[in-house]
Symmetry: C2
DNA sequence: TATTGTTATACTCTATAACTATA
DNA sequence: TATAGTTATAGAGTATAACAATA
């Protein structure tokens, strides 16, 4: 029991250190954690404010402010929605896309560090275990 | 490579779900993330504001505000420092201690879920790997 | 009527700077 | 002089509520 907790402690510490590292790198470009979160959600393509708010689990009002800042800093633009004149699409600029790639590379690097010693089979088993835990937690949270 | 990243994604999701769960539980008692962080630091015993600020990587002014809120809500008290009349000690109340225990139990539960299938030896190996990663990240951060 | 995104307002967390009491 | 903790002030992130434009 105690050993499991010690390992989890260490794991959480590693994740925190990684986040600090990333935050430091991004902070130098004027990107806060909340803004980075939003940019990350755009990696798969443009989204409306409503979809951003939902996927970030945050209010629409909040998204307005974050997008305002990101537009001013040149990381995203607001484009008219092709079919719904109420809505607009938030789109990554070239500069914003570079930031997202940078975050993806950082994550890839961490994954390499963490799992360097695991075989493909062990990785698969770990993935399955995590799937299970995620399912348990989601049930507990009623999602 | 891709598989490693997928597993890390899942791992980060699990940690986020756990944090959401904990935040929801604590939020119902009026405890925010920042306040929970401070309470967590007191698990090992009373600390001065200066030590709290250092261990939380936050300014002393910030600690003042958090402690104010926690005192008002009855989770901690300020006690005079036995030898330094400038300083005061932040001490958990019975109510605050119960919250810390609740957090510890939550963490123990997550550790159990995550590592249920690992043998003691596998746990040891994982711990060693995490130690290595933590060291690498610390070096990178210059800490 | 319902939804999208905004303005208005308020609270928490955070930082810097200046100050008081004590070391 | 230096340190511990505070007050003063400001900025970012977040929430709720009310509103205009559009669906």
């Amino acid at each position: 029991m105690k050993k499991q907790i010690a390992v989890l402690d260490r794991l959480l510490e590693v994740v925190a250190l990684f986040n600090d590292d990333m935050e430091q790198t991004l902070g130098a470009q004027g990107i806060t954690q909340a803004r980075a979160h939003l940019l990350w959600r755009l990696a798969g393509g443009p989204l409306t404010s409503a979809l951003l708010a939902e996927s970030m689990a945050v209010t629409p009002r909040n998204v307005t402010g974050l997008v305002d800042g990101l537009v001013a800093a040149g990381f995203v633009t607001r484009e008219p929605h092709p079919t719904d004149r109420r809505a607009s699409l938030v789109v990554l600029t070239k500069k914003g896309g570079a930031v997202v790639r940078e975050m993806q590379e950082g994550q890839g690097k961490l994954a390499g560090l963490l799992f360097a010693d695991l075989t493909d089979r062990q990785l698969g088993s770990l993935q399955k275990g995590l799937d299970h835990v995620a399912a348990v937690l989601r049930r507990e949270l009623g999602r």
